[in-house]
Symmetry: C2
Subunit: 374 residues, 2 copies
């Protein structure tokens, strides 16, 4: 992957016209990982003036001696890892000093990530240096994934599918939400995940269908809806998978009807995924089915969001979102309905946007979406 | 607890002289939780001019409709919870507008938490409002814990002790670091923890003694050092417990010697804990024993740190730390030595600083520190 990382840094440098006397300072951990392949705690990435071949080059400054792949100091021919000097407390501040010493006149920083206090310290470390804003340039660059990134997401999705599939074969009645969540997380690790992509959510009965429900000590009962949302992290990439089941032999009529509405909304959202489709149109495709069935007007929860090095990243598929989908953008589609006191349904898939000529959206999470009675 | 929260807000208001035309905006989640009792994602806490009895009062602004205790809107007579208006995307920005509308001339913000971009948006939302810096005033206020906070920490420590004690009764040889870590986390939940206070670290053989080691697929072998660091979260409060064991019937001579050095260093650190003792003296007490035994000059890892609503908070017990301990400050004492390729020892306790008249430091994590051969 180190060539891919070098290419990403080069693209960012071009975008900032940072070949001359401009240096770029990246501090947001997911952005550092995207550009350098690793983001030790408290690290800062400096793209120094003069480019990767210059006297300073591309430098990953780490508060602690780097371990593992970073320990050698030289990550690739173009990126070095180095520990902070003893006097420095903040990698960003030391980077600013190095940039100034290397002849930079301008330092482009992530103003949406640097706190006001840190920004001030960065400025004070190099008084001659003009600070300007990188904005969300790296987040923009991260939107469209390459095939290696998508391969990692595909494995993450497969792990989540396996963990959920195994759980469904066990006896569920009488077990608590917390224990089911823990068991799912254990199975994610068993199947090779780095860890859960986010805290696993298990909701039973009245808790079912609530987005981000924190597992409680409520036990699974006959007749419950059971909704589960889990995800695996693999190779730094994160996916999401959510399903709702019925406990017992025969779902009630209201359960079948509610499930059908959410299923139709989720399918409409999935089918709307294509290059050049506005984000808000995907949201609307799902939302209008819920609205038509009388379940609108609820929470302004987005219908979906991008996934990648972070479990929630750009784009947001919501009514107010600006922008259009591209090919090779992985997103979730996860509409749901929750009826207070009764419970509800959420269905959540991770998919990759693909042109119709390539077969349309690629579904990564393949667990069945039939209403299973367990 | 709601009276305690109101008293904390009142203390902060006094500190900011915020009775007149000054409003205070708190955005850092742990600080919001300290002052309001809860910190929904993306929330901001506004202490409006005119005090809690004023027209706006103390307001918790939440991006999503508040759930649970917050759902009623009225948290106590003095604190209200409210959802953002539909047009607002950022609770801090809406709070600034409300502060200006309520007649504030000055808004005190957390410059160490607000990003440059958010700070700019807050300023733009209320052009007449002068923004000043709250600094780490709330973090300072959080240093000394009240007895309810210490009671939560005591339960958290008890849970961690129980989880570790049970693990030690099981067979360890042949199991992977990952599975031992997962089992510990399951036991934490079983005993009533909200969750692990941080990712559980289990290191075997050459991985033992590494601070923050991420569990791998290495299996426990006869003759290994096994070091474990875990913590429970309970009622929002976090503790830490670390021990090192030997696997097999007879520890090797180097293992016994290394253990004795680290044990002596950790004891010296614990015994140094008292009101008015400089932070750096606690660090030195432990560090000079490691140095004298020839294990100095290693990583500049602090000897310990405060715990509370965050697992790592002020103070830091390190060579460069400024300040002195107070009674009722809970801290960790966790020196260690790691010998590359061979492994090492870490011993980590959570204690509360108490005056000698009250019996000296209160040890919360009571698992034995004898060198156990398992």
């Amino acid at each position: 992957m180190s060539e891919a990382h070098a290419a990403r840094r080069s693209q960012l440098r071009d975008r900032c016209a940072a070949a001359g006397s401009t240096a770029v300072l990246v501090t947001r951990p997911a952005n550092i990982r995207y550009l350098a392949g690793a983001a030790p705690a408290g690290a800062a990435l400096l793209l120094a003036p003069g480019g990767p071949g210059g006297p300073v080059g591309d430098l990953l400054l780490c508060p602690r001696p780097p371990a593992g792949d970073l320990a050698g100091g030289l990550l690739t021919g173009e990126l070095r890892a180095r520990t902070l000097s003893a006097a420095a407390a903040d990698a960003a501040v030391e980077a600013a000093g190095l940039a100034a010493a290397a002849g930079a006149e301008q330092l482009v920083v992530e103003e949406h990530h640097l706190s006001v206090t840190r920004h001030r310290a960065v400025g004070a470390a190099a008084p001659g240096l003009r600070l300007t804003d990188l904005g969300r340039a790296v987040e923009q660059q991260r939107l469209v994934k390459d095939e290696q990134e998508i391969a990692a997401l595909r494995i993450a999705a497969e792990i989540a599918d396996q963990a959920l599939g195994e759980l469904l074969e066990s006896i569920l009645v009488g077990r608590t939400e917390r224990h089911l969540a823990l068991e799912l997380e254990r199975r994610l690790i068993d199947h090779g995940a780095d860890g859960p992509a986010f805290p696993t959510s298990v909701g039973t009965g009245p808790h079912s269908g609530l987005p981000g429900h924190r597992p409680s000590d409520r036990r699974v009962e006959e007749g419950d809806f059971l909704s589960v949302c889990l995800g695996a992290g693999y190779g730094g990439y994160h996916c999401e998978l959510g399903r709702t089941f019925v406990i017992g032999t025969t779902p009630a009529r209201w359960q079948i009807e509610l499930y059908e509405v959410v299923f139709a909304a989720q399918r409409a959202g999935r089918e709307a995924l294509a290059p050049d489709v506005p984000y808000r149109d995907v949201d609307r495709a799902a939302r209008q089915i819920l609205d038509a069935a009388g379940y609108g007007g609820g929470l302004p929860v987005p219908t979906g969001h991008g996934v990648g090095l972070e479990i929630r990243e750009d784009p947001e598929l919501s009514p107010g979102a600006m922008g259009k989908l591209d090919a090779c953008v992985p997103v979730t589609v996860e509409p749901g309905v929750h009826l207070p006191g009764r419970g509800g349904v959420r269905i959540d898939d991770t998919l990759v946007v693909r042109p119709e000529a390539d077969g349309g959206p690629e579904l990564l999470t393949i667990t069945t979406k039939e209403l299973l009675a367990l």
